[in-house]
Symmetry: C2
C-alpha cells in the first residue's frame, strides 16, 4: 500500500526529487557540486527573505537549533526563550546546555506568544538575545514573528533574535531582512520536499556581529566556516551530497510554482484540513486564529484511544499521522501538510479518518 | 562520461544502494523505520568489533569527531592528541575548541605514530584521554591502533581512548572491544558505500563511564539520547532517513561478501594501487610499511603542476582524485580506494594516470 505520509516531517519526497538525490555520487570539492550548491543557495534566498547567502549544514532540525545557539551566544548571556511547545522548549534547553542564562516565557500550548507578554518579560529581564519559534510543530501554532520582533526591538533594540523556522520556512512567508530577525534555521525534511539530513541557516548583519562576540564552543556548526566555503560552492565538511542534489530539484519545483503560489497552496490546504477536521466533529488543539498552515494538531475525544486511532489509520488506510508529544501524548494527533502536499492527499486523509472514527473498536476500555 | 570517483570520500555508491536510499519517505518514528534501524545496527557490529549497539547520528565525519569529544571529555581535561595529518589535527582542534587541555604529539606526516613516542608523551603528561586517528586520510597512513592502545594502557590504564575511524572502519579490520578502544567513530560516505550524511559511533563500557563524568556541553550529539532511541529502533532527532536505508542495502552487500573478504579486497586493491603508482615512476607519500589500504597519497614530481594533473584526469578521463590538503596542497594527490571499489576501477585509474603523465603540458612553467 502506497503510504499517505502525513507526519509533520519527514514529509513526502516527489519521485523526481528522490531520483535527483540518487544520482551517481560526486566530489563535494569539485565543479559539479559547486554548480549545485550555488543554485540551491540562490533559490533558498526568497524563501528566507534574506539578501545574503543562506548557509548549508549537514544535520537534523535540532542540529540547526544547536547551530543557531552556539554561533551567536556566549555562556552567561541573558536569553529570553519564548516557549509554547516541545520545540520551543528544546531550543531553550540547548541554549541552557551551552551555558546561557535562560529565562523562559511560557505560553499556553495551543496559543501564540503575544507581543505584550514578550515586552513585559523583557522589562524585567535585560535579555541580550531572544529565542522564538515561528511554527511550533508540537501544537500546530504559528507565531506572528514580525509583531514579536517589533515588540522586542522596542525594548531591546540590539538583542539577537533567533528564530526556529524548521517547520515553516519554505511553506509560510518568511522575511529575515524585513522582519529584522538575526538567525533563522530550517530543515530539508519539512517544507522543502526533500529527505532529512540538511539544515539551512540565514544570518543578518547583526547576527554576524553577535557571531564575532559569541564564545560558546563551536566547531562543526561554525557559521563562518560554512559561509566561507559556501562562497566557493562547497561546505567545510562533507555534506549530505544526495540531499543537496534532492533540494536542487525540489527548489526548482518550488521556484517554478512561485513563492506566493507555494504560500497560497499551504494556506488553502491548511484551511481545508481544519475545515475537514471540524466537519468530522473533532476539535483543533490550536486556537483557530493562530492555527498553522503546515501542521494541524487534533484533539482525540476522551472516549477514544489515540494510539489505536493512529494505528488503524496507518494499517487500514496507509495514512501516517504523528502522535502527541510530551504531556500531549495520547490526547492529540498531528497532521503534517507542508512541502509536497496536494488537495487529494488531504481528501484521502479526511475520508480515512472518517472511516476510522466510525469504528467502535477505537473506544477506550472503561 | 561516467566518472571514476576516486576521492577518499564521498565514495561511489552502487546503484542498488542509491535506489534503496531513494525509496518513498517513511516516518522515522514508525515500525518500518525501526526494522531498518535494527538491521543496520546489527550489521554494523562486526565491522566495529563491538558487542554493544553502535549509535547512529546525522552529520559529517567531522560531526562524528565532535560527538566523540563532547560526550566523554570535560573542559580542562588533559588530553594527548596524536597528530599525523589534517584529520588528526582537526580532532585535536575540536577538543581544544571545547576546552580540553590539549598536548599534541606531532608525528611526521607520512609516518605512523610509534608506541614508544606515545608512551614517552604520557610519561610527561598525565592525560585522562588520548585521541588517535586510525587512518589519516590526508596522508594515506594507517596507524596500528592495538599497539598504541597497549602502550597507552601500560601508562594510563584508565585513559579514555578516542579513535577516528572515519576512513577505516568498514574497510580495515577494527576491534573496539578487543583493542580496548573507548569511542570509535565513522562516516557513511567512506568504507560504507553509502551517501554522506550519517555518522556512527561505538562506545565501550569505559566510554560510558567517561560519558557519565563528562561535562562538555552537548545536546544534539548526546550519546545517551542516541542509545536510548536506538534501542527502540529510532533516533532522538529526525535522521537522514534516506542514508539509513542506503546503508541498510550497503551493509547487506558487505555482510554478504563477508567481513574478512571485504578486508582482503581492500588489502589486495591497496597493494595494487601502490604497485601501479610505483610502476609509473611515482613516489608514495606514506612510508610503505604503514601505507593505507583505503587512501593512497602520491607525490607529484616537482616538475609537474599538481592542479593540472588532477584537472586533466577529471576532464579527459573522468577520473576524480583529491588534491593535497594544508601544506601538501600542490605536492601530492590522493586516491580513495575504499567501499565500492573493484580491480577494474584501479586499472582504469592507472591507465588514465599513465596517459596524463605522458602529456608534456603538465610541466610547470619555469
Amino acid at each position: 500500500m502506497q503510504q499517505n505520509l502525513r507526519v509533520p516531517g519527514p514529509t513526502p519526497v516527489p519521485d523526481g526529487v528522490a531520483q535527483a538525490g540518487a544520482q551517481p555520487m560526486i566530489n563535494h570539492r569539485g565543479p559539479e557540486f559547486a554548480t549545485v550548491m550555488r543554485e540551491v543557495i540562490e533559490n533558498l534566498k526568497p524563501f528566507f527573505g534574506a539578501a545574503d547567502d543562506p548557509l548549508i549544514l549537514t544535520g537534523s532540525g535540532t542540529g540547526a537549533q544547536e547551530a543557531a545557539v552556539v554561533n551567536v551566544l556566549s555562556p552567561g548571556d541573558p536569553v529570553l526563550a519564548v516557549v509554547g511547545g516541545v520545540f520551543g522548549a528544546r531550543f531553550a534547553e540547548i541554549a541552557d546546555a551551552f551555558g546561557a542564562d535562560i529565562r523562559r516565557l511560557d505560553v499556553e500550548w495551543g496559543t501564540a506568544a503575544g507581543p505584550e507578554a514578550v515586552a513585559e518579560a523583557l522589562r524585567g529581564f535585560p535579555a541580550s538575545a531572544v529565542i522564538l519559534t515561528h511554527n511550533e510543530t508540537s501544537t500546530g501554532v504559528t507565531n506572528d514573528i514580525p509583531t514579536l520582533t517589533r515588540s522586542i526591538r522596542a525594548h531591546r533594540p540590539e538583542a539577537t533574535i533567533l528564530v526556529d523556522g524548521v517547520s515553516s520556512i519554505g511553506a509560510l512567508p518568511f522575511d529575515l531582512d524585513g522582519w529584522d530577525v538575526d538567525v533563522a534555521v530550517s530543515g530539508s525534511q519539512k517544507a522543502w520536499m526533500s529527505p532529512p539530513g540538511l539544515a539551512m541557516a540565514a544570518v543578518s548583519s547583526r547576527g554576524w556581529d553577535a557571531y564575532s562576540r559569541a564564545r560558546m564552543p563551536r566547531y562543526y556548526w561554525d557559521f563562518r566556516k560554512a559561509s566561507k566555503n559556501g562562497a566557493k560552492g562547497t561546505t567545510p565538511f562533507t555534506p549530505a551530497v544526495g540531499v543537496v542534489r534532492a533540494m536542487q530539484e525540489a527548489l526548482r519545483l518550488m521556484t517554478g510554482e512561485g513563492t506566493e503560489a507555494v504560500f497560497a497552496r499551504h494556506a488553502r490546504i491548511g484551511e481545508a484540513v481544519r475545515d475537514g477536521i471540524t466537519a468530522l466533529g473533532l476539535e483543533l488543539f490550536a486556537r483557530p486564529e493562530v492555527a498553522s498552515n503546515t501542521v494541524t494538531a487534533v484533539r482525540v475525544p476522551g472516549s477514544l484511544d489515540a494510539a489505536k486511532l493512529i494505528k488503524q489509520l496507518r494499517e487500514r488506510h496507509g495514512v501516517v499521522v504523528a502522535s502527541g508529544q510530551d504531556w500531549l501524548k495520547g490526547s492529540i494527533f498531528r497532521i503534517g501538510h507542508m512541502g509536497y502536499v496536494r488537495d487529494e492527499d488531504i481528501d484521502h486523509l479526511l475520508q480515512s479518518l472518517a472511516a476510522v472514527l466510525s469504528d467502535k473498536s477505537l473506544e477506550r476500555a472503561v
